[in-house]
Symmetry: none
DNA sequence: GAGTAATCGAGACGGTACGTCCCGTCTTGTT
DNA sequence: AACAAGACGGGACGTACCGTCTCGATTACTC
């Protein structure tokens, strides 16, 4: 994400900037996030920010990755439904946390008008998690828990898209109940 | 959406503003849309815009409704899958049209930091279409094409959410193929 | 000062406008005087103002004339110095009254960038008073109280200009003492 | 006159702003002078103006001081009347120059509704010149050219006020003849 | 006494300028 | 050479008034 070059970079400034961005995003919502505000809060010159990040969304992205790297794993207990439920519930928890929800919504909103952000979001956040899920589904398919003709990437979308749908469209709040309903319908199907 | 009051309102100005907003949104993307730009293009004072709309998103919303009110119907040929496919394909067409996609993404992005917009999007765009879909599904459920215990609103989400997911997350392009996959998985289920 | 024509004019509106102008000039200083403000305070449409007056200064001018028409007289007791003192003291009183001072300063300020106002101020306020003074001085000259070679219009300026000087330049407050000093110096001269 | 602080200030911008203000004041009269216009002409952001000056009058004031600092001297040839005439003629020349007259009138007009401007005008323009004149008159009084009981500050007003009177009231044009008349009347007095 | 025309109140309209907030770049020491 | 600080040119913000322009709803003169 950096352009100039060296490792002469001040770790102190980097940390202060990421922290300031997270704090201000909570206080003012993503839309009220300002380069100038971050610089002031972090006690940093604006130039220092522009030197290392191309946009405020990029800062937030990096800040978020630092926070949530731990979530990167997918349980495999042998019970597919339980494993999916466990993982999806973690996502619900994140989307339900006001702070995390604000970051996520802000970042996805920014992605709509900045292809770089869009790309970064997919690559560094979505893709790794989707891949883990596909791995689990592949193993389930081998075990015969999923029909052979099921398109697994599409199935991942079917499972997670409704969570994003509620997060972004604000039709109804994301909730844990939703997870069970999604699992029921997706596994058993709706047809008679 | 209006605050001051009467019907002394100039239809000429209203039209010019909505048209200008649509045009500029195509040319500059939603992020580059400007109250000042709209005013200049429409040949209108800025105050006239602020008098009737609280935000640029509100303008776009009204402009969009004028354009797409025709889409409000849901076929019922007796063939559930065909009907769903037909309707979902229309959504894919809209999301695939660069202009319409730009409006939609911009509006949803704006909704992330403005509850009024969020509410207006749901009420005036999402809800009416979802309701029509639920009607169709209800009738299908009566006909025995859908299991009785299926939560229909959740099923609507299952069908449409993946389209929004790809539109907003930019993982893969929305496509007509997707519709068939969604229908397959949703109707038959993924379980063995 | 009126342009359209008839005497169909509403006396009620005329009065309300003049009163509103005077009131607002006191409250907000001349610079803060607004056509829109006058209209609202007077309970009058803006058009009604523009129909009868070309500028806010014109309104104020008319309002002032209605207030101070009484002052138009110049005493002639035979005692020149006493008569001048009496008249000049009246001017000091006016310039000392905060309300009247505000009007006067505002009007003269407006005259600096509007020749119509400048002309109206001279014609309807300054000139009549200067003429009366010249009359008194002429009679004094005949009586031998003023040297024959004295340019009377210039003498009027010598007497009154210092009052305007302090009013407009804000070097020192206008005061009654000033009158005596002016009279002393003007009548006796400063030379040894 | 400046608020933010340092000497990090751009001399280039300062100069461009002062020049632009003078130019525009000539072209559009003081009333048509605009912060936005100055910024555009000077090729400068508006903020840069607001950072260093509180009002357009303040800009003009500074611009004028840069231009006329040379006039600050008072001749002393021993001939009081000649010295006064020489100095007053310089003022007449300034008031007769359309550009300078425009600045002066605009500034004094602005002073009527802005105490800061009023104060700055007195302090930085009027006062220094009055003081020089008083010095000359004091020396004349010692020489016996002026009576001992004459109030010198009042005499200064008597000499100069008529020039300002004509400048601001627009009764008659300021002229060199006026200087002689003023000197005659002021030195010899008007009384018989 | 009914018809008609102009004035009235109200306030929307196309505009211009306001003074503020940020943007992203640039400049000036400091570490 | 990266840093904190912040001035710079610029663009958009949302507001306040400008002077013009409809709108009905009173008037008050004409027929």
């Amino acid at each position: 994400m950096a352009t100039p070059n060296p490792d002469r970079r001040s770790e102190r400034a980097r940390h202060a900037i990421l922290e300031a961005a997270l704090e201000l995003c909570q206080e003012h919502t993503y839309g009220g996030l300002t380069m100038e505000g971050i610089a002031k809060r972090a006690g940093v010159g604006k130039q220092t920010i522009y030197r290392w990040w191309p946009s405020k969304a990029a800062i937030l992205l990096e800040a978020l990755q630092g926070r949530s790297s731990n979530t990167l794993n997918f349980p495999d207990t042998g019970d597919l439904r339980a494993d999916l439920r466990s993982q999806m519930t973690q996502v619900v928890a994140a989307f339900t946390d006001p702070m995390f929800a604000a970051y996520s919504k802000g970042l996805i909103a920014a992605a709509q008008s900045d292809p770089d952000i869009a790309n970064a979001v997919v690559t560094s956040i979505i893709k790794p998690r989707v891949d883990l899920c596909i791995d689990r589904l592949t193993s389930a398919q081998k075990d015969g828990d999923i029909r052979d003709d099921v398109d697994l990437p599409a199935m991942v979308e079917l499972l997670y898209a409704p969570l994003y749908y509620r997060l972004l469209l604000h039709t109804r709040p994301v909730s844990e109940d939703q997870v069970d309903t999604i699992l029921d319908l997706t596994i058993a199907g709706c047809g008679a």
